[in-house]
C-alpha cells in the first residue's frame, strides 16, 4: 500500500462481474471527471467473456496533466466479493471502499481506509425489479465521496440513456441521487479538489483517436476483420460511415482485408486496416506485396498478449519482432508506436504522408492498454495538417512513356518513382509482386538469371531498400524527460512511456537522479543520432511490456547500444508507475552498493 494524499489527484476502481455494466459505469465516472476540468486516464480490466467472471475499470484523474494510471487506488467500488478480494490490497491510506454489505464482506483492510457502507442493491430495487442500477447508485455514492457536483453525473446519465425511453434515465438519476445523499450523510468529501466545471475535456482511446486522425488525413477506405483490441476502430468507422462518407469493408479474413486495402490504395484511396497480432500474422505476405508493388498502405496492430490467441483482452508490446521481420526477404517498412491517444491522432496523418511519399507500408503499433479501454483526455486537437501525396502524377513526363506503358518503377535520384492511379489516361502500368524492371515488366520468368538482367534486379532491390535512408531523416529521436546527465536513464517506447514519465516525477521527489528516453518512432532508426544521444545516458534501464526486451535488442542491432538492466512485464497487465519506481530504487541501491 502506498501513501499518497494529494488533493490534486484521484485514482478509483470499479469492479464487478462482466454484464454488470462496469465499463459503461466507468466511462460515465470518467466523463464526470473530464467534464469537471480534470485530466483523466483509464484502463479497462476486461476479460474475454460477455457475462460473469471479473472485470474492472480503473480511472486516474488529476488537476494536472497526467499520463498513466497513477498510484494505487483511492476509491474502490467492489460490486462483488471477488472484486474486493482482487483489489483491496492496492487501496491507498486516506481512501475509501464503497460497498454493499449484502454483497461484500470486508476483511484485512488497512484501518486508515474508510469503509462506506451503502445498500446499493436495495436502493436499486426501488427503481426496477432487478438491481441492475446498483452501479449507478455506486456512482452517486462515489460523487459524494470525491466531492464532485452530482449534477454532472445526472447529465452524464442523461447522455448515456438519452436514446432509451425517458423513464430509464430518470430512474437512474434518482438512484444515483439516493446513493449520493446516503454517503453525504455519512462523511464529508474525502478529497478537497477544486473542480473546474467550465472546462470540459474530450476523452478518447488510442483506437478512436487514430480513427479520427486517419479520416482527418483523408482516409475514406477502412478494412477490418474483427479482433480485440482493434475492434473499436472498425466500430467507430462504421458508425461514422454515413456521416463522413467512409467505405468500410469487413473482409472474410485478414488476408482479404490486407489485399483489399492494397487494392484500394493502388486505386488512389488513402486506405488503412487494423488488427491484432494473430490477424497481422495473416497479413504479412500481403505487406510484402505492398512493398514490392510500392503501394502505400497504413496498417495498425493493436497489440495484445500472445503468443497465438494469447490473452485477447490483456496488453503487451510483444509484436515488435514480428514487425521487424514481416514476410520474406528484405523490404522497407516504417514502424511507429504512438505513446498515448493524443499522439495516435497525430500519428495517423504522419503515417499516410510517409506511406505516400515513400510508397511503403507504414505500421502503427498500439496496444490494449491505450487502445481499447484506455481513455485519455486530449486537449485542443489541431486538424490543420498537410496531406502530402508524394509523387502522384496525372500526366506522364514524356521520358516516362513508350506509347504502351508508363515507366512506373523508374529509377530516380531519390529512389522514389512517380506514381499514377487507374483511370488516368496514358499512364498504364502493371504493379508486380514478381521482381520487375522499371516498366513493371516481369524479371522472374524468361529473363531471370540472364547476365543483362542481374544488375537490373540488383538496382530494383536497392532502389526499394534505399528509401529507408531518406525515411530515416524524418524519424523522430527519443523524447527526453528529466535532467541531462542523470545517474540512471530509463529507455522505453510506446505506451510504456506513460508509466515511466509519471514514475520519474515521484523519483525526482525522492531525490533520485534519473531521466528517461521515450521512443515513439521505432524503425527505421537514425542509428548515429540515437547512439550519440544515448551516449549521454546514465546506467540504462530498459522498460517494456514483453519477455525478451525486443526494443532493447533492436537498439543493439541498429545503434550498437547495449542495455543490461531491464524491467520487463509480461503478465498481461500494463505497467504502473509504482512498479517502475520500485525497480529504479532497487537499481540505485545496487549501483551504490557497487560504488
Amino acid at each position: 500500500m502506498s501513501e499518497k494524499d494529494s488533493d490534486a489527484e484521484i485514482t478509483l476502481r470499479l469492479g464487478a462481474a462482466a454484464g454488470d455494466g462496469i465499463q459503461s459505469a466507468g466511462e460515465m465516472i470518467m466523463k464526470v471527471l473530464s467534464r469537471s476540468g480534470m485530466h483523466v486516464t483509464t484502463y479497462n480490466g476486461n476479460q474475454s467473456l460477455i457475462r460473469g467472471g471479473h472485470v474492472w475499470f480503473h480511472v486516474h484523474a488529476s488537476t494536472k496533466k497526467i499520463y498513466s494510471l497513477g498510484y494505487g487506488i483511492d476509491f474502490l467500488i467492489p460490486l462483488t466479493q471477488l472484486s474486493y478480494d482482487q483489489h483491496f490490497e492496492k487501496l491507498n491510506q486516506g481512501g475509501a471502499v464503497i460497498y454493499d454489505p449484502v454483497a461484500v464482506k470486508i476483511h484485512d483492510l488497512d484501518p486508515k481506509v474508510m469503509q462506506i457502507s451503502v445498500p446499493l442493491a436495495d436502493i436499486a430495487l426501488k427503481y426496477d425489479k432487478r438491481p441492475i442500477m446498483k452501479n449507478t447508485v455506486a456512482l452517486g455514492s462515489l460523487c459524494a465521496a470525491i466531492g464532485v457536483d452530482i449534477n454532472v453525473l445526472s447529465k452524464a446519465i442523461q447522455d448515456q440513456f438519452g436514446r432509451k425511453e425517458p423513464a430509464v434515465a430518470e430512474n437512474n438519476i434518482k438512484a444515483a441521487m439516493d446513493g449520493y445523499e446516503m454517503v453525504k450523510k455519512q462523511t464529508r468529501p474525502l478529497k478537497n479538489i477544486q473542480y473546474n466545471y467550465s472546462v470540459r475535456r474530450p476523452a478518447m482511446t488510442a483506437d478512436y483517436a487514430l480513427a479520427l486522425g486517419a479520416v482527418a488525413a483523408g482516409c475514406r477506405f477502412y478494412a477490418a476483420y474483427p479482433m480485440s483490441p482493434a475492434s473499436p476502430i472498425v466500430h467507430w468507422m462504421a458508425s461514422h460511415a454515413k456521416k463522413l462518407g467512409i467505405t468500410v469493408f469487413l473482409g472474410e479474413d485478414e488476408i482479404s482485408v490486407m489485399n483489399a486495402t492494397i487494392g484500394a490504395s493502388y486505386a488512389g484511396a488513402r486506405a488503412m486496416c487494423a488488427t491484432s497480432g494473430g490477424g497481422f500474422a495473416l497479413m504479412q505476405e500481403a505487406i510484402g506485396e505492398a512493398a514490392m508493388t510500392e503501394t502505400p498502405v497504413v496498417v495498425v496492430d493493436v497489440m495484445r498478449a500472445g503468443p497465438s490467441t494469447g490473452l485477447p483482452t490483456k496488453t503487451s508490446q510483444g509484436d515488435l519482432n514480428m514487425m521487424l521481420g514481416i514476410s520474406q526477404d528484405d523490404f522497407p517498412r516504417v514502424i511507429l508506436a504512438p505513446r498515448n491517444p493524443e499522439e495516435s491522432f497525430y500519428t495517423a496523418p504522419r503515417a499516410f504522408n510517409l506511406a505516400e511519399r515513400y510508397q511503403v507500408p507504414v505500421i502503427i503499433l498500439l496496444d490494449f492498454a491505450i487502445g481499447d479501454g484506455g481513455y485519455s483526455t486530449v486537449d485542443n486537437l489541431n486538424f490543420a495538417f498537410e496531406i502530402d501525396r508524394g509523387k502522384l502524377l496525372s500526366t506522364p513526363p514524356p521520358a516516362y512513356t513508350n506509347g504502351y506503358w508508363f515507366k512506373r518503377f523508374a529509377i530516380t535520384d531519390d529512389n522514389i518513382s512517380p506514381r499514377s492511379i487507374p483511370g488516368t489516361p496514358d499512364m498504364m502500368f502493371v504493379a508486380k509482386t514478381d521482381e520487375h524492371d522499371e516498366w513493371g515488366h516481369d524479371l522472374s520468368d524468361v529473363l531471370a538469371g540472364l547476365k543483362e538482367y542481374l544488375p537490373i534486379r540488383r538496382r530494383m532491390h536497392e532502389k526499394r531498400m534505399k528509401k529507408l535512408e531518406e525515411i530515416k531523416k524524418e524519424m523522430k529521436l527519443p523524447e527526453i524527460y528529466g535532467p541531462s546527465g542523470a545517474d540512471i536513464s530509463i529507455i522505453t517506447w510506446g505506451s510504456s512511456s506513460n508509466a515511466v514519465r509519471e514514475a520519474l516525477h515521484e523519483l525526482h521527489k525522492k531525490g533520485v537522479s534519473v531521466n528517461s528516453f521515450e521512443f515513439s518512432d521505432i524503425y527505421p532508426m537514425q542509428e548515429d543520432e540515437v547512439r550519440k544521444i544515448l551516449s549521454t545516458a546514465g546506467i540504462m534501464v530498459d522498460v517494456e511490456v514483453n519477455y525478451s526486451a525486443q526494443f532493447a535488442k533492436l537498439l543493439k542491432r541498429e545503434a550498437g547500444v547495449e542495455i543490461n538492466n531491464f524491467f520487463l512485464k509480461y503478465d498481461g497487465e500494463p505497467i504502473y508507475p509504482e512498479e517502475v519506481e520500485k525497480h529504479i530504487l532497487a537499481t540505485r541501491k545496487e549501483v551504490h552498493a557497487i560504488a
Binding site: A203, F221, G251, A264, A271, I387, F429, T433
Partner: protein, 288 residues
C-alpha cells in the same frame, strides 16, 4: 482523347506461355471482349495472382496488378470499392482461385461484388510443373499423384451458385467466339461474374482433344439461364461438357450499389481530403 490506336488493348509484351497453351485463347478473347465493351484501356484494371495464367496482365494493355497467389479477388474488390467507375477483371488459374484463394471467391459471390473473375481452369498447377489442382480428376496422374489422384475434384460452379453467385458461366479456349461472347456478357452483368474458362495445359495435362469431343453449347439447346434448379442440373450434366451461361440474374444489387447507400457515393479514391473544421469539431464533441 480520340483513340488513334485501332487495337488499344494490344501490348508490346509477348506472352511467354508454351506454344499451344490454352491461355493464349483467353487473352485473345478478353482483348476482343474489351474492345467491344467500348471501354478505354485506362478505365480497366486486370488483376491476377500467381500461376502461368496469372501472367496475363501486361500481355494486355490496361492497368494491371499482378498480385499474390490466390489473392486477386480481394485486391480487385479493394480497387472496385475505392473507385467503382473502373472495370475490374480478375484473371487467374484453378489453383489460384479454386484452391488457395477459394474463400475469397465464395465471399465475393455472396456480396455480389461488381468484379469479373475469369478462371483459367486447366485442372493442374502449370507453373509449379504439374501437381494436382482442386479440379484434377479422380485417378489423374500428376507429379504429386503418380498412382492416380485419390481426391474427388471440386465442383466450383454449383458451389458458387450456392454462395449466391449471380452470373456463372463456363467457356472453352477452343471456341474463341464463344469465349469472347461469355466475357462480354460478364462485363455487362450487374455484380459478380464467374467465368470458368477451360484452358488446357498442353505441357502437363493436355485435355484439348477430350474437351473438343465432349463440349456442347447450352444456347444451342435452347437453355435459359434464369432458374437456379435448372442451373444445378445443367452444371451436373453427365452427357458431355456443357459450356455457356448456366445462371444469371440482374435483379440483385451489387455490393457497390449497396455501399453507395451508406457512403453516399463519396468514393475513397476521389475523397482524399481533410475534414471541414465544423465536422472535425463535432467529432471531438462526441467524445466530450
Amino acid at each position: 482523347m480520340p483513340l488513334l490506336n485501332p487495337k488499344p488493348f494490344e501490348s508490346d509484351t509477348r506472352a511467354d506461355w508454351c506454344p499451344g497453351c490454352g491461355d493464349f485463347g483467353v487473352l485473345a478473347a478478353l482483348k476482343d471482349a474489351l474492345q467491344k465493351s467500348g471501354r478505354q484501356p485506362h478505365e480497366v484494371v486486370v488483376v491476377s495472382g500467381i500461376g502461368c495464367s496469372s501472367n496475363l496482365p501486361g500481355y494486355i494493355r490496361t492497368y494491371g496488378f499482378h498480385g499474390l497467389h490466390g489473392r486477386p479477388v480481394p485486391v480487385a474488390v479493394g480497387i472496385k470499392n475505392a473507385n467503382p467507375k473502373l472495370l475490374v477483371i480478375a484473371t487467374a488459374g484453378d489453383g489460384d482461385e479454386y484452391g488457395i484463394g477459394f474463400n475469397h471467391v465464395v465471399h465475393a459471390a455472396r456480396r455480389n461484388d461488381d468484379i469479373k473473375l475469369i478462371v483459367m481452369n486447366n485442372e493442374i498447377y502449370g507453373l509449379t510443373t504439374g501437381q494436382l489442382s482442386p479440379t484434377s480428376k479422380l485417378g489423374q496422374k500428376t507429379k504429386t499423384s503418380p498412382d492416380g489422384s485419390i481426391i474427388y475434384p471440386l465442383k466450383p460452379l454449383p458451389t458458387i451458385l450456392g454462395a449466391g453467385g449471380t452470373f456463372i458461366a463456363r467457356t472453352f479456349s477452343g471456341d474463341p467466339k464463344h469465349m469472347s461472347w461469355v466475357i462480354q456478357e460478364a462485363i455487362k452483368h450487374r455484380g459478380f461474374a464467374l467465368v470458368d474458362a477451360i484452358s488446357p495445359c498442353v505441357t502437363w495435362h493436355n485435355i484439348y482433344d477430350e474437351v473438343k469431343k465432349l463440349f456442347y453449347r447450352l444456347e444451342d439447346r435452347g437453355y435459359k439461364p434464369d432458374d437456379e434448379n435448372e442451373a444445378y442440373k445443367a452444371m451436373n450434366a453427365q452427357d458431355g461438357i456443357p459450356i455457356g451461361i448456366f445462371y444469371r440474374r440482374e435483379d440483385k444489387q451489387s455490393f457497390q450499389e449497396r455501399l453507395a447507400e451508406i457512403n453516399g457515393g463519396r468514393w475513397a479514391a476521389d475523397n482524399v481530403k481533410s475534414l471541414g473544421s465544423e465536422i472535425a469539431q463535432s467529432l471531438v464533441q462526441e467524445m466530450l
